[in-house]
């Protein structure tokens, strides 16, 4: 919906050709998927379990500050691994080809208050199909924020920096509410809808189990370390939430990312769908460790093009995808984490205010966006 369509220079044939080239990249990975990839995810899962076990073990003695620090750090990392590199990717079906019923999108459950199947619907289905389509993709602002100039401003949006901050702290609850489409479903007559009630119940059950584990059972097991363990688990959840919120904000919010209108996706071809994913996503650059801790969502563009390819292959895919961006003269939005987080937050702040008056003749891109 920006004033200048960054894909305007492409002909319809070029877009379809681009689609075919992307399909070829995908086929290559699928043909070469094998033992190494399977070994990778198994290794990551085993490492996560061991780390969580050891961290929880250390936290039994969390009344001693060094134990608290080590245990909390370990548990935070374990929770991040569970949600990002493991849970998110398995639930995308990235590892279904292994035919291992224990590592499968239909059986996996994660350390998160949103039950896996509900998240799969709102994330895999709605968000990934309708990426960045206003009104269809609720990830855009999670229904509580204004993320594009064309969205109508409302005084409620003045508070959006605060909503965003709270959402970051309690991100997993935000996601659960969002998967339930709580905002829409709390209206009087929808509340009674049996299907909604069943889903709400499932979320309630999941929350109860998670809370019981983190804030009752493990603290109790720690005996005299009850309170420090409680604080440790709270901290680990907070760290995990802040981290995943930051990573996810970088995926579609930074400046330079495009947002689309509902009518623009009518009768979309495969090539156009690919193009929308390319223009609607942004990457994070950084080290291997950084990619791992983001669950390879740092390769958001590649992930959106091929959501079901194993995450450990995104790095090699990224090289080829980037070459295509260059070939077709498109902007590959990427940058280091602090820069991308800052960019996303700046947008949140900027759009909390109504649009400024359009300015005349604005040469710089940033200004064009504001004027749009």
């Amino acid at each position: 919906m920006t004033a200048i369509d960054p894909t305007a220079h492409l002909t319809a044939e070029q877009i379809e050709e681009l689609g075919r080239e992307l399909d070829a990249i995908r086929d290559e990975v699928i043909a070469s998927r094998g033992e190494k990839d399977a070994a990778y995810i198994r290794k990551v899962i085993a490492a996560q379990r061991k780390l969580e076990l050891v961290s929880r073990g250390v936290l039994l003695f969390s009344m001693f500050p060094p134990a608290w620090l080590i245990g909390t750090a370990g548990l935070s990392v374990a929770k991040i691994m569970d949600n990002m590199e493991i849970g998110h990717n398995i639930l995308h079906g990235q590892w279904d080809w292994m035919r291992d019923p224990k590592i499968h999108s239909t059986t996996w459950e994660w350390d998160h208050v949103s039950p896996a199947d509900q998240w799969k619907h709102s994330h895999n289905e709605l968000h990934h199909t309708y990426t960045n389509v206003v009104g269809k993709d609720n990830d855009l602002g999670y229904g509580i924020m204004r993320v594009d100039e064309d969205q109508k401003w409302h005084p409620f949006h003045l508070g959006q920096p605060l909503w965003n901050f709270l959402n970051a702290c309690f991100f997993e609850y935000g996601i659960a509410a969002y998967d339930l489409e709580l905002g829409r479903n709390l209206s009087k007559h929808r509340r009674k809808n049996p299907e909604f009630r069943a889903r709400a119940k499932a979320v309630g059950r999941k929350i109860r189990k998670q809370v019981l584990k983190d804030y009752v059972i493990h603290p109790l097991l720690s005996g005299p370390s009850f309170l420090p363990t409680l604080a440790a688990t709270f901290t680990a959840n907070l760290v995990r939430n802040l981290w995943s919120h930051s990573v996810i904000m970088c995926g579609h919010f930074p400046e330079g990312v495009q947002v689309f209108e509902r009518r623009s996706i009518k009768g979309e071809t495969r090539g156009q769908w690919y193009l929308r994913q390319m223009m609607g996503s942004a990457n994070i650059s950084g080290s291997k460790a950084m990619h791992f801790m983001t669950g390879n969502l740092s390769h958001q563009i590649e992930h959106h093009l091929f959501p079901d390819l194993p995450s450990n292959r995104y790095a090699e895919v990224a090289v080829k995808v980037r070459a295509l961006f260059e070939k077709y003269e498109l902007e590959y939005v990427t940058g280091p984490l602090p820069k991308q987080v800052f960019s996303a937050w700046r947008k949140v702040f900027r759009l909390s205010l109504p649009n400024r008056k359009p300015e005349v003749e604005t040469p710089d891109r940033e200004q064009e966006l504001v004027a749009a």
Binding site: R99, D100, K102
Partner: protein
């Protein structure tokens, strides 16, 4: 409180500690073969038998309930990262001292699992196991005279029997292309030398196929013998006919290996087995559409292969991935994305 209820309460508590995982997810890390775990086995050794057959020694998990000679076991092996299940006869005697079991596998051309097991399997590898099953077994009452009639890898269940139970009068007729293709040949010849077995080897490359109607020339008293036969379908069909013609069919016990071979074609008859609907489908229409058009309730989401909201068990037959052209054949536990799969021949979808 009984100890059983106590244990189940303790387990419930443990589940609260490990949620959303299960305690077993952690225990599997350290002790995958423990009692109470999903049944698994560990490959402990692989011995070549012939150029294309090998015996795999497996230490089964504690949950293994044992087997009877002649039975088979289904094993799940990861080949190129993909778990594939196949059934193999157990070749070890039922009461082996060290608790291990063996299967003997012949690599068949293009056989993914058999080639992997014969040529690439390494000691230390974990595999998935089912309990042994099959009623190709010896009776409780000892028969006076026994005939084993086998061909190729059909010798494997019979070898399990031979090693398990000794009879006074045992004859074996075994067919293989050449002497060096006879699996267990040394062991068989040792038994012959010890006078515990009378053996006729038919080398089909030089002797031609065994003509069952002339079995009497090799084993004159065949009709008086309790017979166990295992080999290709042609041999078994002929044997069944021969025994029936002589009115002694109750003396013949046969074991058939994988009967159906899936032939991947283009389109075919699709059965939605839970709904009980059968329709014809072409090779280009997604099964999701085929189902919906015939009024079957099909789960779906993105309809373009990205959300995995449409995965459904493939019970039989084969489907083709419309994006890659890749063929997927039905096997236990195989799920397909109906929105990007079309019928590649007759198939059965659990919906």
């Amino acid at each position: 409180m009984t100890s059983a209820t106590l244990r189940s309460r303790a387990w419930k508590l443990l589940e609260m500690v490990t949620t959303p995982l299960l305690p077993s997810d952690y225990l599997d890390l350290v002790s995958p073969l423990r009692a109470g775990a999903d049944l698994r086995g560990r490959i402990e050794a692989v011995y070549p038998e012939t150029g294309d057959a090998a015996t795999i020694v497996i230490r089964p998990g504690r949950g293994w309930r044992g087997h009877r000679a002649g039975q088979y076991v289904r094993i799940g092996v990861d080949v190129d990262g993909v778990r594939l299940w196949r059934a193999y006869s157990l070749t070890s005697p039922a009461r082996r001292q060290d608790g291990r079991v063996t299967i003997t596998v012949k690599a068949i051309p293009d056989g993914k699992v058999s080639n992997h097991l014969v040529r690439r399997a390494k000691p230390g590898t974990l595999i998935q196991l089912d309990q042994a099953t099959g009623d190709f077994v010896l009776p409780q009452a000892t028969p006076a005279k026994v005939l084993y009639l086998t061909a190729g890898s059909g010798i494997t269940p019979v070898m399990g029997m031979l090693r398990d139970t000794e009879f006074d009068d045992v004859v074996m007729v075994h067919c293989a292309p050449r002497p060096q293709d006879v699996i267990f040949r040394n062991e068989l010849h040792d038994l012959v030398a010890d006078k515990r077995l009378r053996l006729t080897e038919v080398h089909t490359d030089t002797d031609g196929m065994l003509d069952i109607s002339r079995l009497g020339e090799l084993v004159p008293d065949w009709a008086e013998r309790e017979t166990w036969a295992c080999g290709p379908a042609g041999l078994l069909d002929a044997a069944e006919e021969h025994w029936r013609d002589h009115g002694v069919q109750e003396r013949l016990h046969t074991e058939r290996f994988r009967p159906s071979i899936v032939v991947a074609g283009d389109g075919g008859e699709v059965t939605f087995s839970s709904t009980g609907k059968t329709v014809d489908a072409d090779g280009a229409t997604p099964l999701l559409d085929v189902g919906e058009e015939s009024g079957v309730l099909m789960p779906s989401g993105c309809r373009m292969g990205i959300c995995f909201g449409c995965v459904t068990p493939l019970k039989a037959g084969a489907v083709r991935d419309l994006r890659t052209g890749e063929i997927t054949e039905a096997e236990p536990g195989v799920l397909i994305q109906t929105c990007v799969s079309a019928a590649a021949g007759p198939c059965d979808i659990e919906r």
